[in-house]
């Protein structure tokens, strides 16, 4: 294992959390200049291993050598000094600072007692040109897309002269176009001598950019393979321990009457005064899965928030089962719809509540969970939590008593999906339900969604991933700049065609 060309050498790393060994005796060498992917089920310990390298966790056992020298990475600052940078799954940018300010934050250049932005600006612009990281230095973070924010994070690392770059699920939040760009950027960085560690659940991406891939399972390293010559199937099997299917099996839909009917819905952004959702009408019927496709930022999120009552709507109507829900409270809506929200930390979870409390978030006030005098029935809470944990294979250190905050990203997502699907509502609204999930979990969740459909529920889903859209949908609605560009049949269109609608190039004629 010991190899002089290895820039990083993990030796017998063990990191324990209460109730679980997140990393179990992991030894792994990373070669200089390679793109090394980390693959593994949700909760396998990928993020933990990277956090150990970046100095956020101190391992109980084992050592790390960098450039042949044993080091103690006690905190992220030490990591930065060692030339290690990390782009976290949830970015760490100051919202009301500009891109440039964020990049140089803490490393400002000065002339005498004054800030001298010009030197820094020049350097940042040079870096951005060299690696093809297009940014607008003076734009506020709050005004730019997720893809741009990510480029800002990458520049932040490069500006600090990082040589070893860690990306924790960088593509989970990106649109397909942005993913392609990022892949190009990563290859360029590697060519310039950077070493890249890259966590992903998407096997295609790994095959596309990575040189080698290491697979973790339940805290242990199971294999390190050549990424190009290994098949997707082999990777899937190694990580899950059994064969996985990458396609959704389903019978043709048998839609019945309308469940959700959206009529002329318009939402105006308070600040820009732009119509982010513009006169949108569509319906979702019993027994079908309608998927909203589109590039991020074309009004899909707002449309969903409008329907679920989290954002006020300016015009139009929302009808469910024929009843007008436009003015109803969120609680009233929750009685007939389930909602897997886009932002799992903002809406989906109370991070400092235990898992059992989070799983009961939509039920705690219902009969069985609370008695007539307002006392919670914790036996019921526990029973219900254990049931969902088993059914959806939610993994964590301490079962139902685990704080949501300490769960792995994918398992947090599974908890939300479990809770919402189990509501068994007439209408299931699922926004990127499989974001951050491993291939095995994705297969399971897709199956559950199809099962809901087959139980005559209406499903409205939103996804940026075209593969998922084509696979799961019975009907596709494409949105562009707040409007519906067309309603498509996934069996009759090609991925390329959907792409044209998404880019606003093609548009279905308006039916009268």
């Amino acid at each position: 294992m010991t190899n002089s060309e290895n820039i990083i050498e993990f030796r017998h790393i063990t990191k324990k959390f209460p109730g679980i060994i997140a990393c179990n005796d992991i030894s792994l060498g990373i070669r200089k200049g390679e793109i090394h992917a980390l693959l593994g089920e949700n909760g396998a310990g990928k993020s933990t291993l990277m956090s150990v390298l970046f100095g956020m966790y101190t391992p109980e056992e084992g050592t790390i050598s960098i450039r042949g020298k044993e080091v103690k990475v006690t905190n992220p600052r030490v990591a930065t000094e060692l030339g290690i940078g990390m782009v976290h799954q949830h970015f760490k940018l100051v919202q009301n600072y500009t891109v440039l300010q964020n990049i140089i934050l803490g490393e400002e250049t000065v002339k005498g007692p004054f800030l001298d932005m010009d030197i820094a600006r020049k350097e940042v612009v040079e870096l951005s040109q060299k690696y093809g990281l297009a940014i607008e230095p003076d734009e506020l973070i709050s005004n730019i897309t997720v893809g741009q924010q990510q480029r800002c994070e990458i520049l932040k690392m490069l500006y600090r002269k990082a040589e070893i770059l860690i990306f924790d699920e960088p593509t989970a939040v990106l649109t397909p176009q942005e993913i392609d760009e990022l892949m190009g950027i990563m290859k360029g960085l590697a060519k310039e001598g950077h070493t890249i560690l890259f966590i992903s659940h998407k096997l295609d991406e790994i095959k596309l950019v990575a040189d080698r891939v290491s697979i973790l399972r339940r805290g242990k390293l199971v294999a390190t393979l050549d990424a190009v010559s290994t098949t997707k199937e082999k990777m899937g099997e190694l990580m899950v321990g059994k064969e996985v299917s990458f396609h959704v099996e389903k019978e043709p839909a048998q839609p019945k009457e309308d469940v959700l009917k959206v009529e002329n819905l318009t939402i105006i952004n308070n600040e820009t005064k732009k119509k982010v959702v513009n006169d949108v009408s569509f319906s979702v019927r019993k027994g079908e899965i309608v998927v909203i496709a589109g590039i991020d930022g074309n009004g899909q999120s707002e449309l969903i928030y409008g329907i679920t009552g989290l954002m006020p709507i300016n015009e139009g109507k929302v009808l469910v089962n024929g009843e007008d829900y436009t003015k109803k409270s969120v609680r009233e809506r929750n009685m007939i719809l389930s909602h897997i929200p886009e932002d799992r930390h903002k809406y989906g979870l109370i991070l400092d509540y235990p898992l059992s409390y989070n799983l009961a978030l939509k039920n705690y006030f219902k009969k069985g969970f609370v008695n007539k005098s307002g006392f919670l029935n914790f036996n019921k809470f526990n029973e219900y939590a254990d049931e969902l944990i088993n059914k959806f294979d939610i993994r964590s250190g301490q079962g139902r008593t685990t704080m949501a905050r300490s769960m792995s990203g994918g398992n947090q997502q599974k908890a939300i999906v479990a809770r919402e699907i189990d509501q068994d509502s007439d209408l299931l609204i699922a926004v990127q339900p499989t974001r951050g999930l491993d291939v095995g979990a994705i297969e399971y969740i897709h199956k559950q969604i199809v099962t809901q459909r087959d139980k005559d529920k209406a499903v409205l889903m939103m996804s940026f991933e075209l593969d998922e859209v084509m696979d799961v949908a019975d009907r596709i609605i494409v949105m562009f700049e707040g409007e519906i560009m067309g309603t498509l049949d996934p069996k009759k269109v090609t991925v390329e065609e959907v792409g044209l609608y998404m880019a606003g190039v093609k548009r279905e004629e308006k039916k009268v």
């Binding site: 209460p18 956020m56 101190t58 609680r331 903002k346 809406y347 989906g348 509540y353 705690y364 307002g374």
Partner: protein
């Protein structure tokens, strides 16, 4: 590999306790230094008095005094525990406390003094709770419906109370001779029952028992009921609370109402006691309101912890009073006790420090770090 879910070992609970202890030790240390600087010869003796005096000097009878001081700050402390857990930063304790005290005095003087036994004291107590709640409600409404920062509005209401209360006292219950409120009629004071016998102190009454019961009730509400589930959820993540269909306006109003009522209760129990306290005709805030914040911090916002927090701070107050024996001026005494009290309020702060230093990596994760950065 993964163990069966058992009763969770919550490391946070222990860091909380450790933080409180460290905060207390720091406070004591600084107090000691100041004492040594003011009077090197007597400093050590005086310091020992603070630490041991609570029970040592006056014998067992001090227990009564201790409980008397603990009663109001337990009420305000519990009030803060509840408000802070719900994410409502009610800093209006002093105002709500004084309004409660005033209403209790006035109700007993003008209304309940001719009523039969339990009513004669229960009515002023309830009136004080209602008054404290209503006084807190206004900033609550401003927060819920107009999004006015609750810290600022509750502090402003402390100022409003500070001026108005003197005006109202002068209109209703002013004793011009002594420059303070008129004494509460004896039959309106809190029942004493077995308390004097228990504490060997003639002035003891059931105030502390009522305060402890209040603390237990609030704990039960927070930990065992649907309302508590909603309040805490609101304090931890208002967005997710909205997503779950919980009405956040209603939650804010309920928590500040209960919080205000508890402060009002503190005012009533203090002023209906047998120890003979009055509202003096001087401009100023009731310190019991602010001390409540320190109690809540020491208790890590746990109402049961507040029982110990309040007792500890009361213990220091009693001990501090004995320092005058060594020739320390009254003002020094209150400076010293305040230092210790306000240092206790730093315990939250300490907690973060401890987590960083000792338990690095166990309680922090990326998300938490991220929150701190932004």
């Amino acid at each position: 590999m993964s163990v069966k879910p058992k009763k969770s070992f919550d490391i946070n609970k222990y860091t909380g306790l450790l933080a409180s202890l460290i905060a207390i030790v720091c406070g004591l240390l600084i107090a000691f230094i100041i004492l040594m600087l003011t009077n090197p010869a007597k400093g050590l003796d005086a310091f020992m008095t603070i630490i041991t005096g609570g029970l040592g000097m006056g014998g067992f009878k001090n227990i009564g005094t201790l409980l008397f001081f603990a009663t109001p700050i337990l009420c305000t402390g519990v009030a803060m525990c509840l408000a802070f857990q719900a994410g409502v930063f009610n800093i209006g304790g002093p105002g709500q406390f004084s309004i409660g005290a005033f209403v209790a005095i006035v109700t007993s003087l003008y209304f309940s003094k001719d009523l039969p036994a339990p009513l004669s004291w229960m009515i002023p107590v309830l009136a004080a709770m209602v008054a404290g709640a209503l006084w807190a409600l206004i900033p609550g409404i401003l927060r819920a419906y107009f999004n006015v920062n609750i810290v600022i509005s509750t502090v402003m209401f402390n100022y409003i109370e500070m001026y108005y209360i003197l005006h109202w006292i002068s209109l209703t219950c002013y004793d011009a001779l002594k420059g303070q409120t008129r004494p509460v009629p004896a039959n309106c004071k809190l029942p004493q029952l077995f308390m004097p016998a228990l504490t060997q102190n003639k002035a003891s009454d059931i105030g502390i028992l009522i305060a402890i019961i209040a603390a237990i009730i609030v704990w039960v509400i927070l930990e065992k009921t649907k309302l508590g589930y909603e309040l805490k959820a609101c304090g931890k993540n208002p967005d997710a609370t909205r997503y779950a269909g919980i009405k956040s306006k209603r939650t804010i109003l309920i928590s500040i109402l209960i919080s205000g009522a508890l402060c009002g209760l503190g005012g009533a129990l203090y002023h209906l006691s047998w120890s003979g306290v009055y509202i003096t005709f001087k401009l100023g805030s009731a310190p019991e309101g602010f001390t409540g914040i320190a109690v809540a911090c020491l208790a890590n916002n746990n109402p049961l912890g507040a029982i110990f927090g309040a007792s500890f701070l009361a213990y220091l107050t009693v001990g501090g009073n004995y320092m005058q024996i060594f020739g320390f001026q009254k003002e020094i005494v209150s400076i010293i006790t305040s230092i210790i009290i306000y240092f206790s309020a730093f315990s939250l702060f300490m907690r973060h420090g401890i987590e960083r230093l000792l338990l690095k990596g166990k309680t922090k994760d990326a998300n938490e770090l991220e929150e701190e950065n932004t």
